[in-house]
């Protein structure tokens, strides 16, 4: 349950994971995140969904805006965001590995 508490980010939980994963290799603004997520996962996030996820993640202190004069604000992971992402990915890896193992033996 601890994992859920840490990663309880509402209806947009998958988009939030995509955003965190996208920011794992460095800061990006919204448009770059959308392109990166599409390349990474094949999922084309809509702008409303993306910014819903960004707003929730920022509110929870998992990402932060990088100060800039540009209208397009880049975001980066915070330590809490990196930790939450790692936790979630490890959990997913267990699910994936177990699922694949079971499929192979079925």
């Amino acid at each position: 349950m601890a994992n859920k508490g840490n990663f309880d980010i509402g209806r947009f939980s998958d988009p939030s994971l995509f955003v965190l994963a996208s920011l794992a290799d460095g800061e990006k603004h919204g448009y770059a995140m959308m392109a990166d997520i599409e390349t990474m996962s094949g999922v084309r996030l809509g702008p409303g969904t993306l910014y819903g996820a960004i707003a929730r993640l920022e509110r929870r202190g998992m990402i932060e805006v990088v100060p800039t004069e540009d209208r397009r604000k880049p975001y980066r992971l915070t330590a809490a965001g990196a930790s939450a992402l790692q936790e979630q990915l490890l959990s997913l890896r267990n699910v994936v590995q177990t699922g694949l193992k079971r499929l192979a033996t079925a």
Binding site: G10, R11, F12, H29, G30, Y31, M34, G46, P47, G48, T49, L50, Y51, G52, I54, A55, R56, R59, R71, R72, K73
Partner: protein, 306 residues
């Protein structure tokens, strides 16, 4: 996507959200080739932001409450003015003028109504004019045309109303010839004037409310406006009390007039008076509740971080 369309989509979001993400979100929408699905996605995102606020800026929420209270006072006062015009219309007849001269209480109550209405108008101007100037100044500094255009609506509405009245008095009446005061044609034309006035008033107040809502105005002006608004509420209370005294005094001193058909459109005087009292009482309640909420919000306003 064009800048204008992007701005329209951003406006779907709550104010606090727009203050925080509006500029960058608009930049993203302008940069992207938007499909119908994307537009639907933005609409759903906006609905989500309204239902489950993602930006909880305490100052912004409190500011919105204070602005809402000040605008509610404006609407309550407008309703009060409509009732007041009804009272003025009813009492312009000679019988009522003579009753006011004859009886001290009827006369004193009538003059108290007039003084209270003037005080309320002055207080509305005292609190409202600085807000209008601030909204205009902010809009012009941002190069926005929507806010100045919205503030043009009240004078344009007034001009349209005056034009309609002139059309009736200069063209329609001379054409149709003399009619009995309460003939169906006269009543229809009078009701059309009342309708035109109400339409102009509603459109004007709605335009001013919209302009004020769409501009970033500091809390200081809204906080200040609550004090003239208190004066508005007090003046409205005094006018309401005076109106009640006027009716009672008229009933005692001139029962025939009070029980006659001196009301608007030859309706029963007492019923017209009662309708005006009820309308004023409703508007006074609207203003009182708005004030209580406004002061409550002002007390909870967090200190500025700077």
């Amino acid at each position: 996507m064009k800048e204008k369309n992007a701005r329209r989509l951003v406006r779907l979001y709550p104010r606090a959200w727009r203050e925080r993400y509006g500029a960058e979100f608009a930049a993203l929408l302008e940069e992207r080739r938007m499909s119908v699905l994307d537009v639907a996605d933005v609409a759903l995102g906006a609905a989500d932001a309204w239902l489950r606020p993602q930006v909880t800026d305490g100052r912004m929420l409190v500011l919105e409450r204070m602005r809402g209270s000040v605008l509610a006072v404006l609407w309550g006062w407008a309703l009060f003015v409509v009732a007041g015009i009804g009272f003025q219309k009813m009492t312009e007849y000679e019988d009522f003028v003579q009753a006011a001269h004859r009886d001290f209480w009827v006369g004193a109550a009538f003059h108290t109504v007039v003084v209270g209405a003037v005080v309320a108008l002055a207080a509305i101007l005292l609190g409202g004019v600085p807000i209008v100037f601030a909204a205009l100044r902010n809009a012009l500094s941002e190069g926005r045309k929507d806010v100045p255009l919205l503030f043009c609506v009240p004078p344009l509405s007034l001009a349209a109303f005056v034009g309609y009245v002139l059309l009736l008095t200069r063209v329609v009446y001379p054409t149709v010839g003399p009619h009995a005061v309460h003939s169906s044609l006269n009543v229809a034309l009078f009701l059309s004037v009342v309708g035109a006035f109400l339409l102009a008033a509603v459109v004007s107040i709605a335009a001013v409310s919209r302009a004020v809502s769409r501009t970033a105005i500091g809390e200081r002006l809204f906080r200040f406006a609550l004090y003239p608004a208190t004066l508005v509420a007090l003046a409205m209370g005094v006018v309401l009390a005076a109106l009640v005294v006027w009716g009672i005094a008229l009933k005692v001193q001139s029962p025939a007039l009070f029980g006659g058909d001196g009301g608007i459109l030859a309706t029963h005087t007492a019923y017209t008076w009662l309708a005006i009292v009820v309308e004023m009482a409703i508007s006074a309640c609207v203003v009182a509740v708005a004030l209580i909420k406004g002061f409550a919000a002002a007390r909870t306003m967090p200190r500025a971080s700077s």
